[in-house]
Symmetry: C2
Subunit: 309 residues, 2 copies
């Protein structure tokens, strides 16, 4: 073990697995010519580490594998290999709360073969960095201020949102719309005016006591799955079904869900102030139980920080 390996300061900002090697995050780079960048020909997943344990690691690995298959990417690493690589990265950083990403991207066809993605090999890239909150704890406690954006979400027929991807042009445009209008978050509709998702999160409404979320045009989020499970446990009805913009705007409560934030109540949607400008009772309860269960080790895969790689 050389000095760089034991100097934790080099690794505190994060560690990455690139080209088969583990490097500090500052050195984790991809070629400017790779199609993963130049054609956004890449899929990814992000698993959270909280109190020294992965949350729903198997669910993330399952989704990541399905995404890779959909894009016809077959990196040499098995799911067990990926789990081992991610664990090694978190251990290297020593982080007890971390944002852990796995990417699979196509490079570029070597010379002498057709200039087509079928001939470009895919490779795995991973990294672990300090935890990122999509919305601050203060924003979550008082409720996020959101609006419905004019920019429509990319249609699922063009780019499948259940295959987690970096096609964020519409989401970024919507984020600017919200920022310009003084809001913190955007919700995107599809071309037919139905609710889809926001930049990095699934969207939920509480209507007549039931928790509802769109059944198409959005990522099948792992935190979304947790919302379903918690609703079952708390005896709250839930459904994935079409939600029109009008129905959404008149919902009793609204909240978002994502790995980088958990369950995040919304207290304003455009000019409308929901409840008392505070998180609604169902949203607040779900958020509370979510973190309570996380602290007690729900769906947790603990990391042995002292093990050898």
């Amino acid at each position: 073990m050389n000095d760089a390996m034991t100097d934790t300061s080099v690794w505190a900002d994060g560690a990455a697995f690139v080209g088969g090697e583990v490097v500090p995050i500052a050195e984790a780079k991809i070629p400017i010519t790779a199609w993963g960048y130049r054609r956004s020909d890449v899929t990814y997943d992000v698993v959270g580490v909280y109190h020294g344990a992965f949350f729903r690691l198997k669910d993330h690995l399952r989704r990541f594998r399905a995404s890779m298959k959909s894009l016809r990417m077959e990196p040499p690493e098995s799911d067990a290999d990926i789990a081992r690589i991610l664990t090694g990265l978190v251990r290297r950083t020593g982080l007890r709360e971390a944002y852990v990403a796995m990417d699979c991207m196509r490079g570029r066809p070597p010379r002498g073969v057709p200039y087509h993605p079928a001939y470009a090999p895919a490779s795995l890239l991973c990294f672990a960095i300090p935890w990122v909150w999509l919305f601050s704890e203060e924003q979550q406690a008082r409720g996020v201020h959101a609006m419905i954006a004019k920019t429509p979400r990319i249609a699922p027929e063009s780019v499948d949102p259940t295959v987690k991807n970096f096609h964020w042009g519409d989401l970024t445009k919507a984020a600017f719309e919200a920022h310009d209008a003084g809001f913190e978050a955007a919700v995107l509709l599809d071309a037919e005016g139905m609710v889809t998702e926001g930049p990095g999160y699934n969207v939920f409404a509480v209507i007549d006591g039931a928790v509802v979320t769109p059944d198409r045009g959005a990522l099948e989020g792992i935190t979304r799955l947790s919302v379903f499970e918690l609703s079952d446990e708390l005896g709250i009805a839930h459904a994935a079904r079409p939600i029109s913009a009008a129905e959404f705007a008149n919902a009793d409560e609204i909240f978002f869900a994502t790995t980088a934030g958990g369950i995040m109540p919304v207290s304003r949607l455009g000019r409308r102030i929901l409840g008392n400008d505070r998180p609604g009772p169902v949203s607040a309860r779900l958020r509370e139980v979510f973190w309570e269960k996380r602290r007690r080790g729900w769906h947790a895969t603990p990391i042995d920080y002292d093990a050898a790689d």
Copy 2:
């Protein structure tokens, strides 16, 4: 000047401008955490070098600047700076035929500011590599074999195709469709069944003696502009207007246009064999005149390979 600077072999594969420095293409990389990659929050342009001269450099710089403005990116470099950087890169490689790219991408917001693209600075990245033919000269001479893909093009309301971008998920899917069916190229329709563009090229048809191309849902290509100019010169009527899939499938001739290939005739569209399975007369004539004029210095900005940087 150190040895690396004078060893042409290091630069023969390409040179890049990254982080304000000129490096060999093999060392040109972007951070795995940059939003230019992780959110495809980037625009770009590509200018060709042929016989030691840029083709329509000013037109590419004008479009690149308009794209950056649309995405609210303001790198420190002026158009004159960019032209100087690109020229320096080509000179460094010594390449007389080159594919020269300029990217402007957002990084990531520094710590302590909101986690929003409005707070992430944009930076310029450029590179020059040996010329790439999208379709081989043999394919161009006998006509490309194309098909209409089932995957619809991302709608312009979601991601503006006139702002050149890396949102290629739909284009890559269509390229796989074509490859699976034994074709070399794909043409994408929009959700209403109108022709848009293909993976990396504009699409044209010759109908009743006139050259037509879609007026929306596609990049406003610089080679497309050259097609208009050449048509004027040759006395061929031309129009940018909606083209239905049925009209396209029954066209007299079809051809593609792109920087990385020029004007490329199509001889098959799905099961239909056009003409005598060879490029049609209008397409062939446009291709011939295009390269003839290029050789004579049309819209050329010659590169002084012996100048100092």
